[in-house]
Symmetry: C2
Subunit: 145 residues, 2 copies
Amino acid sequence: MPVPDTPLLAADAIIELTDRPGRPIVLIQRANPPHGWALPGGFVDPGERVERAAMREAHEETGLDITLLALLGLYSDPDRDPRGHTVTAVYVAAAQGTPRAMDDACALDVFPPDGPPSPLAFDHALVLADYRAYRASGTLAPLRL
Amino acid sequence: MPVPDTPLLAADAIIELTDRPGRPIVLIQRANPPHGWALPGGFVDPGERVERAAMREAHEETGLDITLLALLGLYSDPDRDPRGHTVTAVYVAAAQGTPRAMDDACALDVFPPDGPPSPLAFDHALVLADYRAYRASGTLAPLRL
């Protein structure tokens, strides 16, 4: 079989710091284009489960060991990544301790979910809106056509 | 940026025939390797949303117009596809009418969820076990590490 051409696959994590009041979340400032604030995440490696990719990227970029709680949704708008069509699986996760910016992150900070920084890269403003609904009522990201 | 190497991405649909007693599901017999019974589905095209890929593949293989109901889970075991690492998004969907085997499907039939045919291709036995839990209690596929 010739190798099919499909979108690239990534994984991102919304990391709740569960040892802090209000369970704030961790965002990184991207060292590489597209610049802006973003969820920790990155491309899935061949041979790697998507869940493991989310955990690995979170550790590489924040130093945190995260526990995955739920798959919030699969984001696949062809225009969501200016570098080309990349589908990302976004997980809600929990961690404790102090995150530190590493690897692809040139800075990092902790924010309340309703007060994220600007500008956000990719479609992460949409992702965080879905996350706020999840946090309020437990609903996962809607399917989008 | 050099193009990263990531797993291939596919989408599959568990199609409930909601105009029949007991809401049976549609499975196809694959015309191409790996042979066996399988959920209708296939590779996501670049530029296509994953949800649209599930709807397109279902239509191409069964002739049905499906309505997506939920994302059951993302299946990414590196060994789930003998052709190479392929991650698939599995949706629960509804349709009415008579499915007909087309395209990659050399045959097609309708089964109760607890009585699927054998052998099932890929990890579709696991997917259908998750689906039976979803149908019984509404729980989505567990995250797997």
